[in-house]
């Protein structure tokens, strides 16, 4: 009965590789390069033994543990340990996402698009697709793991030896294989590929959360989560291989289950009943604004959580900042001693500027969604009904502006909450809020600029992102390498008052706000008078 089930699997493998040669290469290379760059970066960041010990102390707190996993070997915190503690889990998350996206595309995605049916009508076995996908993902992940292991060893960084690097690469490869298998299993159960990606990412997210709770308090929980196992491998210290073996073992079982389900089901079918949606629109979904919000709901909520977590991450290390700065020559150059202002307070404006630039990403996305909708011929549905261009534009603009305020606020709440929780002497919440609010007019100028682009040069809305990237460069790098004044001033972020070091410059704030409004109004005029174009 099983005869011929895997017929032509080899050709199928070639077919997948030919289709994905570019995306697989880019993903694998990007991850390998990221890992290698980090390996080089750590010795640059903290060159002396003393600095590493201070870092070890800053890293040993619940917030960091929740984020990166449990600290280990703190008394000898060398570069290998730093990688294993601070970067392994994060890299594993990226590897997992890559595998989820690619595996979903080649299983349920192909089935949905009818490609599998086309191939199955040829002399190809019933299980060839699954077999081929397994071979491709096994190969890709093993290759990535080997490249990482060899690359890290070859860099010859103190403390980053072969045994640890091999385990480091192996963990990442095993994580990749594990999540590819989870995705393949969900692809049998769920009937559409969006659902498969959603289920798999949810599984990843829950694993991460369960591990975080477990690592902070209830260690048994960490053993339920595959991501929790990663934190027990301790590369470059005890070099435990059982997490790798456990992960591969479970992955094999998942794949066997997927194969069985694939064998007993019909082409195109799933095991979950297709979820029925609402047959009528809710009261909320009755206006351009309601629609604009509904379409971006997931994005809005995710960004709010993300920015809050980012703030919390910074907040958790603020308490140790003063001692950290004291130990590093690098920071002493950056923040010359000012009478009556602590180093931490000097750091706040810089932190705020970086957070403000990052917080500009979601409002820009929420606004420029309007352009994406236009390109897909979806705004036509609204504009050919009794909806004016002004009200359509206003809907997206309103969401964008509200998001800019809420997101800045959440970042500050996150920052302050973990700061006050880890020390008792945080800068006052009001001061932090002022420092963040001072950046709002600059964010609005970025939004206003994208309104202008949408109005007059819809094909060029990407320029808004380039300008934002420039701002990040000018504000962040400019601060470190002392770029000329005008380079920084070309960005709206370069004009914001540096609270709490400086006091609020209300004239400048008013000017920036007026400019944002001016850009916006011009954009409205352009949008009202131009063709709607796909």
């Amino acid at each position: 009965m099983l005869k011929g089930c895997f017929k032509n699997t080899g050709k199928y493998v070639q077919h997948i590789l030919r289709r994905e040669r570019l995306s697989i290469s880019i993903w694998v290379l990007a991850i390998v390069i990221l890992v290698l760059l980090l390996t080089i970066a750590y010795p640059e960041l903290s060159p002396t033994e003393h600095e590493r010990q201070i870092m070890a102390e800053t890293m040993n707190n619940p917030a960091i543990t929740a984020m990166f996993g449990p600290a280990y070997s703190l008394d000898d915190y060398h570069y290998g340990i730093m990688m294993g503690h601070q970067m392994l889990l994060v890299t594993a998350l990226i590897v997992a996402i890559m595998n989820i996206i690619l595996a979903a595309r080649h299983t349920r995605g192909d089935e949905e698009d009818g490609l599998s049916e086309l191939l199955r009508s040829l002399p190809v076995g019933k299980l060839s697709n699954l077999g081929a996908v397994a071979i491709v993902f096994l190969g890709t992940n093993v290759l990535m793991g080997l490249l990482i292991a060899c690359g890290m060893t070859a860099l010859n960084v103190e403390g980053v030896g072969f045994a640890g690097s091999l385990l480091y690469g192996a963990i990442l490869a095993a994580t990749g294989i594990f999540f590819a298998c989870i995705t393949i299993l969900f692809a049998q159960i769920n009937q559409n590929s969006r659902g498969v990606v959603g289920f798999s990412l949810a599984f990843l997210g829950i694993s991460y959360l369960v591990r975080a709770i477990g690592d902070v308090g209830y260690e048994t929980l960490s053993f339920i989560s595959p991501l929790g196992w990663i934190g027990r491998a301790e590369p470059y210290a005890s070099n435990n291989w059982w997490p790798v073996i456990l992960m591969l073992g479970v992955a094999a079982m998942l794949f066997a289950a997927a194969t069985y389900l694939n064998w007993i089901r019909d082409m195109g079918a799933g095991f979950l009943p297709e979820k029925k949606g609402a047959s009528t629109a809710s009261r909320f979904l009755q206006s351009p604004l309601g629609l604009a919000f509904r379409l971006q709901k997931t994005g809005i909520i995710s960004w709010c959580i993300g920015v809050f977590v980012l703030g919390a991450m910074y907040g958790s290390v603020m308490g140790d900042l003063e001692s950290y700065f004291d130990s590093m020559e690098f920071f002493k150059d950056l923040f010359p001693v000012i009478e009556g202002v602590s180093l931490t307070e000097q750091f706040i404006p810089m932190l705020m500027s970086i957070m403000a630039v990052l917080s500009t990403v979601p409002p820009l996305m929420f606004f420029l969604k309007l352009r994406t909708e236009e390109k897909k011929n979806l705004t036509e549905h609204l504009l050919t009904r009794a909806v004016s261009r002004r009200s359509l534009l206003s809907s997206y603009l309103l969401i964008s502006i509200l998001a800019s305020i809420v997101i800045q606020f959440l970042a500050v709440v996150g920052l302050w909450a973990t700061w006050i929780a880890t020390t008792n002497e945080a800068t006052s919440f009001i001061t932090l809020l002022q420092a963040a609010a001072a950046y709002l007019p600059a964010i609005w100028i970025m939004i206003g600029f994208s309104v202008l682009l949408l109005g007059f040069w819809p094909k060029g809305t990407g320029v808004a992102w380039i300008y934002l990237a420039y701002s990040f460069f000018a504000v962040y790098i400019g601060e470190i390498i002392q770029l000329p004044e005008w380079v920084v001033k070309l960005s709206p972020f370069g004009h914001v008052s540096q609270i709490p070091v400086e006091s609020m410059n209300y004239t400048m704030t008013a000017l920036l706000t007026l400019m944002a409004i001016g850009l916006g109004i011009a954009g409205y005029v352009g949008y009202k008078n131009r063709d709607i174009q796909a």
Partner: protein, 297 residues
């Protein structure tokens, strides 16, 4: 006052001239067919009528109002179905239909549920899982669910199966009976023949022919097949006869529709054994115009 009045409408996209002086008018209660090959300017005309594109020259008036300036006001009384219906993949069909009805500004009762049944659509499914035909149905249901004075339909039945095409044609007839006007752009000639009172043919941004269907038929030729007892003399040189083929006393030819009457009298003198004629179709007209480069207007 005509419901739609388009005068000297011109539109360029960069160097490409999409419309080059289009004139047409739709009277109240009329079903107006607008036919032409791909890229001839049908959709551009419709988009200007809807105010999503702005004309470079000329004007388009609907209900006597300017289609660009008074777009929102006009849209309260029109229903539009685009040629290629794209929808939001994560909203259900039912949600989209409700949203569309609401955005027209209607609060009152509507025929939504009745139409969902007639078009056999599952409104609980996400639009991302709909086929092209099902997305088309969503647009059709939203358009026909509430009364409108003018329906603008851009190739509305492409992607529908024959059964649904029939439902669609019934809907058009119903709104016509209620006195609404319909502007129907189409490729499907049998549909235009079945539904339309008046037709315009557009080619390369210019209207090359327009009028009622019977007026149009004067411009077409009827294909005839005649068998006689005696040889028909002088048929080859008879005015209005084209493409004559003779096999013994059996003749196949085309004749200008306006010369049909006199020709039949003439042929009658040769003792007809059998006579067959194929009626002129819009297809013939269509092909005659599109095949000839720069066919006479």
């Amino acid at each position: 006052m005509p419901v739609v009045e388009i005068k000297n409408l011109t539109k360029d996209f960069g160097k490409v001239k999409a419309l080059d002086g289009v004139n047409l008018s739709v009277e109240e209660g009329e079903v107006y067919g607008y036919i032409g090959p791909n890229g001839s300017g049908k959709t551009t005309t419709i988009r200007i009528m809807l105010g999503t594109l702005r004309a470079n020259m000329g004007e388009a008036k609907i209900f006597g109002k300017d289609s660009w300036r008074d777009a929102v006001e006009i849209h309260k009384n029109i229903a539009y179905i685009p040629g290629e219906v794209s929808l939001w993949p994560n909203l259900t069909g039912g949600e989209v239909i409700d949203l569309f009805i609401k955005l027209r500004g209607s609060n009152g009762s509507n025929r939504r549920d009745e139409l969902i049944e007639r078009f056999d659509l599952d409104p609980t499914k996400k639009c991302g899982t709909y086929s092209k035909g099902n997305r088309q149905k969503v647009a059709l249901i939203a358009a026909f669910a509430i009364d409108a004075d003018l329906f603008i339909l851009d190739e509305p039945s492409s992607g529908l199966d024959p059964l649904m095409v029939q439902v669609f044609q019934e809907c058009v007839k119903e709104v016509k009976q209620q006195g609404s006007s319909v502007f129907l752009s189409s490729h499907i000639l049998s549909e235009v023949e079945k539904l339309c009172d008046k037709v315009s043919i557009i080619r390369e941004g210019r209207i090359i022919e327009s009028g009622t269907l019977s007026q149009m038929r004067h411009l077409t030729r009827t294909r005839m097949q005649v068998e006689t007892r005696h040889e028909v003399t002088g048929l080859g040189s008879y005015e209005g006869v084209h493409d004559l083929e003779q096999k013994g006393n059996s003749y196949t030819f085309q004749v200008d529709t306006e010369k049909l009457g006199t020709l039949i009298k003439y042929v009658g003198g040769f003792d007809v054994l059998k006579i067959e004629s194929a009626p002129p179709t819009l297809e013939d007209l269509f092909l005659r115009y599109y095949k000839q480069d720069g066919g006479e207007g």
